[in-house]
Symmetry: C2
Subunit: 141 residues, 2 copies
């Protein structure tokens, strides 16, 4: 059992007021960067809509909006690789979110810890991390 | 004088091929996250177009596309707070960039190190970092 301090869930009134301060794009979405809270690794970037923000702030388990599936994307729901929210940040222009998270296992659908595993090195695009888990087993349940 | 290894500038052919692999939005833009290379701080998120990617990879000084000004935004050109590129990463879907940078001073127009200085704490939105530089002096030249 964890002895960590539990987050204080914000009131629904605060969440609605907070959402009103955000700038969403024409599709009603706002980009959200996920960063591992203790190591600083940037894991992924995804999108949130109002509903996914409400859900994330209600239970501190990260929920995005999937643009490809056009549905709520409860991170880890099918793979088990959940993201627990540690801190919910917003930038100066209120048009980008930074989620400090505790990521179980890989964040990337390729089985890698981070989605940013390709880097320009001279005139090559190098892959510099390998899968933690065989991706064929990630969604095989 | 720095004794650091200088980056190997990619060839124009590689850059054109690399750009072809990226997914830009309907405005021809791709989001780029800037992270301080040695501390892991997420500094800001901005947008790049093909031209700004070409320029950034030609001199390793970060250049974005300013959506508000509709022009190239050579980070630090007016404020002096430049971003030197240390590594140029792309995610699994090739629709988000992660730039590992060396940021001089504040990345944020408010004079703060990072744009993500506001955090949800219970039912309040707390500012948890202060300006390094008075913002009124940042663009006062």
């Amino acid at each position: 059992m964890s002895t960590e301090t539990q987050p204080i869930i914000p009131s629904p009134e605060f969440v609605e007021d907070f959402i009103k301060q955000l700038t969403f794009n024409d599709d009603g979405l706002i980009p959200a960067i996920a960063q591992q809270h203790d190591t600083g690794e940037v894991l992924m970037m995804a999108w949130m809509n109002e509903t996914s923000i409400r859900e994330t702030l209600s239970n501190y388990r990260v929920c995005y909006w999937s643009r490809s599936r056009q549905s709520l994307w409860r991170k880890g729901e099918s793979s088990g690789q959940v993201q627990m929210l540690k801190a919910f940040r917003v930038d100066c222009d209120a048009d980008t979110l930074l989620l400090e998270v505790d990521q179980t296992g890989p964040a990337c659908h390729t089985g890698r810890r981070t989605c940013f595993y390709r880097v320009v090195e001279g005139s090559t695009l190098k892959t510099d991390s390998e899968p933690l888990i065989d991706p064929s087993t990630l969604y095989g349940k």
